[in-house]
Symmetry: C2
Subunit: 397 residues, 2 copies
């Protein structure tokens, strides 16, 4: 009598949510300050001050009928124009307002794009570790997600990609800076990835889209870390962006899809996105927040806390004997489990009041995710627990 | 290479949008004041003053990390609790916070509910005239929409419903006050509708949900007009609500789904809704607007203008010889076409600069929709045009 797949999806909490709920209970039991909760990717730094000021100004000085009215389904034209111009000036492109489609955040962006391009039984390839909802969105659009094992340093294994391409593959979906590894895919990887897709097209005539889900684009911590913009590498590309992390607005659901107008069938792809957004019930992105991003599109929350957290935690964990790939961006660190089963490792971490997420759900058993979007004070307080956890394994040997 | 269905959906503008775009062009040609645009259902009265005040206060006095952070996927608990309590006090029910699921407006609500209950090939029944997107949402969820012809006064024909029920039918979807007719389904219709569904269940064991899409609930114009609350008539019922029209916030995308906890499988239905919302990419409803409706849930925009418009237009049109079913709610009037083909009628109306929508897309040829959410001044200016349009048909006879 119901759609069982969605009922199950609603019943089974993700392991992240599960852990977060456990943390809430545990904090009530032993005190907030004694639980080291690294479970959620919820920004811990406030929106930049320009956000609050702009919101108040917009509400105060805009005719409410205009401000709160429907925008066109793609989003307000002047908002899209402003963002397209900004992308063009930053990355040397020639996007128009009609390359952008405003959305309720990156999850909506990815869901809409997949519904625009997939037919039943078609395939999307991503690289493990990957954000678990990709599977949910792909399957809801009638497709199948294939997660390829990573190469060294959690970077895509491009030989494996080349072998995995087949006529059913419609898209490769990447996420850099990556959740959960924090790794940034460097320019040479993107460039070689594009070459693999082009070669596949030349050989088979099957044109595979490259989709970049990049809510963490602005969250990189070293001056020499470049997050390559995929449209400069591959014509059949789309970017799913969100202001959730850059402006610390995850609950407000505002982002966009950008379609590269250098691709052959750009008009049809954009129409497919408009159609998919309509079919899923997204009428338009929240209008007040469209106006907001028009004003503060080039601002970023103060991410220096994340950098400080990363450096402190990375140094400490390595000194305790943990193996970690240095994360260049996002606010996640993927630490190697101290026993083969990462779920058992995460369970043992709980005994030290450390809440970290086993990598299994990200398609990468043997690792655990630490979300360091927390206060530096909590990082300090948690260090003895991380040390004790590592020591507990040493004692055993 | 693409999902053709969604590409077509994105390419074909609805006839409403088409007419609206024509109107924009025409206004540029002959002046805004000379075009009588009754095409769109966009609220013309501002949000109540409490909305702007509350928005500013919330932004000014809430920690931005909390305010703009993720809420739970169902929506903030205290918001859901407040709204459930309000529904209970108003309609004498016992809903809990966990009967409510906050959404990005009524379109999202309907889309999510249909994805929660439908499997491929299953059927949803609605009554013509009906909101055209119901077909889009139903088909995207894998189902088929059947629109039954109305009975007298655009009310559901319940004998026809009884004959149309079959084992594939999962839900009956109603919309009252109705877009496009403005008709309110009275209590005896809802009560008989519930009886038909119960009888079908008793005979066949097939339990059909009753879903009420009611963004226009607060827009009724006479004291004795009651909009029955379906949960008081039928246990297996769900309400899709939106603040788009009651608070004039259509662009902000905020509403909810309420699930009747009197139904047998309430827990599974609610889980299905959570799962469907997740699968479609709705992470949570916009958090600022969740907090807003928590404060102003019992306010309504000043709808006296709509009532004045309705009365003036109805009297005038009837005096010119038009046939109209008096609308008790919403801000639409469904006028009988003066020739058999409503599309030709709407085309001829354009010659008088009147923009009205042929009923064909609403599943009711032979009629046209007039959206009277416009300024009273425009109504006055438009009357000679409506008279001339009617006279043009008289001359012909």
């Amino acid at each position: 009598m119901l759609n069982e797949k969605n009922v199950q999806l609603g019943k089974v909490r993700s392991s992240i949510r599960e852990l977060f709920e456990y943390g809430k209970k545990r904090k009530a039991e032993i005190g907030e300050e004694n639980v080291f909760d690294f479970s959620l990717g919820n920004p811990s730094v406030p929106a930049p001050p320009e956000v609050g000021a702009a919101l108040k100004d917009i509400v105060e000085n805009t005719d409410p009928v205009l401000l709160h009215g429907y925008t066109s389904a793609q989003g307000d034209f002047s908002v899209r124009k402003t963002l397209a111009d900004y992308i063009n000036s930053r990355f040397g492109l020639s996007l128009t307002a009609d390359c952008l489609y405003m959305t309720c955040g990156a999850a909506a962006s990815v869901s809409i794009v997949l519904n625009a391009i997939l037919n039943d039984g078609e395939e999307v390839i991503t690289f493990a570790p990957y954000f678990p909802e990709y599977k949910v969105f792909t399957e809801n659009a009638g497709g199948k997600l294939t997660a390829l094992k990573s190469g060294k340093g959690f970077l895509p294994d491009l030989d494996l990609l080349a072998k995995s391409l087949n006529p059913k593959v419609r898209a490769v979906l990447i996420n850099s800076p990556n959740n959960p590894s924090g790794v940034v895919y460097p320019p040479d990887i993107i460039s070689r990835l594009a070459a693999v897709l082009d070669e596949h097209f030349n050989k088979t005539g099957n044109r595979v889209f490259l989709i970049s889900d990049e809510p963490y684009r602005e969250l990189v911590y070293d001056n020499n870390t470049e997050v390559p913009f995929i449209m400069n590498y591959y014509a059949h590309s789309m970017v799913c962006y969100s202001y959730s992390k850059s402006l610390s607005l995850p609950g407000e659901r505002i982002g966009y899809i950008a379609v590269n107008n250098a691709m052959e069938n750009y008009g049809d792809v954009y129409a497919g996105i408009c159609g998919a957004g309509r079919a899923l019930g997204y009428v338009c992105a929240p209008s007040l927040f469209q106006q907001l991003v028009k004003r503060v599109y080039n601002k970023t929350s103060d991410i220096s806390v994340y950098k400080r957290n990363r450096d402190r935690l990375l140094n400490a964990l390595e000194s305790y004997g943990y193996e970690v790939v240095k994360p260049d961006g996002a606010f996640y660190m993927f630490v190697k489990s101290l026993e083969p089963d990462a779920k058992a490792f995460a369970e043992r971490a709980k005994e030290y009041e450390l809440l970290i997420v086993a990598g299994d759900d990200f398609g990468a058993g043997g690792y655990a995710r630490i979300s360091y979007c927390v206060s530096p004070e909590m990082i300090e307080r948690s260090l003895p627990a991380f040390k004790a956890l590592a020591d507990s394994y040493k004692t055993e040997r």
